[in-house]
Amino acid sequence: MIPVWQTTISGCERASLASILELSIEEVPDFFPAKEFKEIYTRSENKWFSDIPSLFHQNVENWLWNRGLMIIRSMCNFNVYHLKTLIWNNFAGAHTVVGYGYKIVHDPEPFPTYLPSDFAGHSWNRYIVPTMDCTNLISSIKGF
């Protein structure tokens, strides 16, 4: 894991993925560009959190799949670098960081204005693993 910092307000997922896969921020697509983020945010009257998952996560999973990787979701904590999504206390949104076990080992937000207590006590973890038929691709991906 090599820490990478987010460059846009909605770029925490992109930067966390880059950190785990040991890629530069430019090598990971902007899965949720700021323009699109703003449109959904406005259209859904600030209830954007419920509109994001299907669109956003599908883009992430397609990108991983094309590299021989897939996501396993869990609330269990394993000693493996993973995407840890923290839910805000008011359930108005979420923030993705890099986790290892139950710890946050890298927060891609360069200038955080929040406190750990701003998040609800639980997190959603996503583990990146190789897909069965793509083992030949894995050696070409940094970090594996």
């Binding site: 996501i71 396993i72 979701r73 269990c76 904590n77 000693n79 076990g101 897909t131 038929d133």
Partner: protein
């Protein structure tokens, strides 16, 4: 020999014992696997130490669903327990053995 059978043959972590499977954890040794149906299996984990130092034994349930894809859940919902990479690798081996992983585009 299909892909699944080949994976069992090649894996040193999955073993068939009559009516059940075992996956091997480098730290904990063999873990008992109950293979339920097409979309779910359970792994009995433990004993492991939780954050306050108690020994715990519990079940991990692994499901494949249209909503969440592959989901690892714990019956105990004890998020204080941190499981090893060896346990995770054993679970991933069995996930690859059991589920025919689908392209998310499909």
């Amino acid at each position: 020999m299909d892909t699944k059978d080949k994976l069992v043959k090649d894996s040193n972590k999955i073993q068939i014992h009559g009516d059940h499977y075992e996956v091997f954890d480098d730290l904990l040794g063999p873990l008992y696997v109950e293979d339920y149906d097409d979309n779910r299996f359970d792994i009995h984990v433990g004993p492991v130490f939780n954050k306050i130092g108690d020994l715990a034994t519990f079940n991990i349930s692994v499901e494949e669903s249209p909503e969440y894809g592959i989901w690892i859940g714990s019956e105990e919902t004890d998020t204080n327990i941190v499981l090893s990479k060896a346990t995770f690798d054993a679970i991933v081996d069995f996930v690859n053995y059991k589920f025919k992983i689908k392209n998310p585009k499909d």
